[in-house]
Amino acid sequence: MLGYVIRRVCGALLTVFVVATIAFTLMSIIPGDAAFYVLGKEATGGDITRFREQHGLNDPIHVRLARWYGGLLRGDLGESITQTGESVVGLVLGRLEPTVLLATFASIIGISMGVLFGVLAAVRRGKLLDFASMILALLGISVPGFWLGLNLILLFSLRLGWLPTAGYAPISDGFLTTLKYLVLPALALGFSQAGVIARMARANLLQVLSEDYMTTARSKGLREWRVVVVHGIRNSLIPTLGVIGISVVLVLGGAIITEVVFVLPGLGSLTVNAIMNRDFTLMQGILMFVAIITTGVNLFIDLLYGVVDPRIRYG
């Protein structure tokens, strides 16, 4: 098991290193001069020189890359180039709460609905329930989350007046107040997750249900529910674990647009602002931060796989 853990941790570190290099390269190949983009057309030559010196843009690329790696090791993602004096880590952490809560609620909705509908569909294969679940899943993967969000606002906020249209209340104002602001965004985001997860869960369980040991379980005279729950779902949950990793990646991506729809002051709106203001260091930092989160989650799931399935550990 130790060898497996070491291999996985090294793999994750390597991924973070590759991401760091990609993020740095991406933001360094911007056509033209970053200083010019940030300061605009009215900037004088002096302004541009000062800006370049202040942000170390005159240094050769390998020096900047080394500085970027060094900063990463110290947990420093640099300074925002449009909000002078603000550290990228500080800005990101300041916007973390709404995104983490939105991602958590959306994942809860997505995973629970997805696994439930996927399992029901597989167990009742070819029946009405299978058909209905898979239609729902198809709608989930096809409906744009931002359009669903606007429809939810129109119905539940503007027409019925049950929930706020947009905005956010921090958790320090009380959990229920925060929840009111997050119900609709989480539903909009979670529904498409549910679609993806339901299709995967169904396929995984169908695969397991067609295995020989399921026939053996039935021929032993076990009741059908026991065959499905104990032998089927349990084994199909192993590949479904990977779904959680995929779900985190999907939720973080979807959160960007959902936050714009619901005007949530999270990481997504920070990203969009960074792009609009051409704040490349902030953009680079956000990329890095999100990559570390997703790599961490995937590493955790890989390790969990090792615990749940001995074949992976010793394979």
Binding site: I29, L139, P144, L158, A274, I275, R278, V290
Partner: protein, 275 residues
């Protein structure tokens, strides 16, 4: 006729309709999509225009018709480009199992660990707002998905006897990959490409919706949806028409993708035969 066959036929008809509308946009659109008629702003459907007018009095139907060009162009181009790039990486990565293959697949896995929207957004920030740049950004984002599928197929196919025989009679690697390995990996590749078409349509409208996709003023379903956002109560037809168009096109593409998968993916079609 079975319901499934019917839904596939209906989807194919819808996609064909959108393609025809996009090709003949200049003939079908009754007005210039950017013609401003302030006195008719937020005009309701039927009131001098088919599906209403937006906040500048522009004819919504004309904008939708021209917007279909962007959705199809971006969707199809991103799907084709990522299929091309992904096939190359997947074939090379799967066939050369040494360091080159390992490095290629490590990069692919790393890119895949990024949320697609975030990666596409970052690339748009670097490249700038142009339709061609949306295609590049989305292609880079989706290349890994194709690469993974082709890589998995290549790993299996390279071990088959006929590939070993071809190698033994001295067939060169490029010819071996293109003539012997690729044709057998085409099924899953085709299926994945059809899904990427659908993802790319949603992604383009998402990027345009938040204002980093098509340049300002260009009619795209995502930008029309963004225009309708401030008029949910007073002019819901703006948001409804654009959103419904994206939804129906993506749904149709997904139904076609599912049908292709059932037809071309041997493992899944075996499962459905077991029904």
């Amino acid at each position: 006729m079975r319901l499934k066959t019917l839904s596939v036929l209906a989807s194919a008809a819808i996609v064909t309709c959108v393609v025809v509308i996009a090709i003949f946009a200049s003939v079908i659109a009754p007005e210039d999509p950017n013609r401003i008629r302030v006195k008719d702003r937020l005009g309701a459907p039927g009131d001098g225009s088919l599906i209403g007018r937006d906040y500048l009095g522009r004819d919504l139907w004309s904008r939708m018709v021209y917007g279909s060009r962007i959705s199809l162009l971006v969707g199809a181009s991103a799907a084709a480009l990522s299929a091309l790039g992904g096939t190359f990486i997947g074939l090379v990565g799967g066939y050369s199992r040494g360091r080159v293959g390992a490095l290629l697949m490590r990069v692919v896995d790393t890119v895949m660990s990024f949320p697609a929207t975030l990666l596409a957004l970052s690339l748009m920030a670097v490249l700038g707002q142009r339709v061609s740049n949306i295609v590049i950004a989305l292609s880079v984002t989706y290349v890994p998905r194709i690469a993974r599928v082709v890589h998995a197929s290549t790993l299996q196919i390279r071990e088959l006897d006929y590939v070993a025989s071809a190698r033994a009679i001295g067939v060169g690697v490029p010819r071996l990959l293109l003539r012997h390995v690729l044709p057998n990996a085409v099924g899953p590749l085709f299926v994945q490409t059809s899904f990427i078409f659908a993802y790319a349509v949603i992604a383009e409208s998402g990027l345009s919706f938040i204002g980093v996709g098509v340049p300002a003023g260009t009619p795209s379903w995502g930008s029309i949806l963004a225009d309708g956002r401030s008029y949910l109560l007073s002019a819901p037809w703006i948001m409804m028409s654009a959103g419904a168009a994206i939804f129906v096109l993506v749904l149709s593409l997904n139904i076609i993708g599912d049908a292709l998968r059932d037809k071309l993916d041997p493992r899944l079609s075996r499962l459905s035969r077991n029904r």
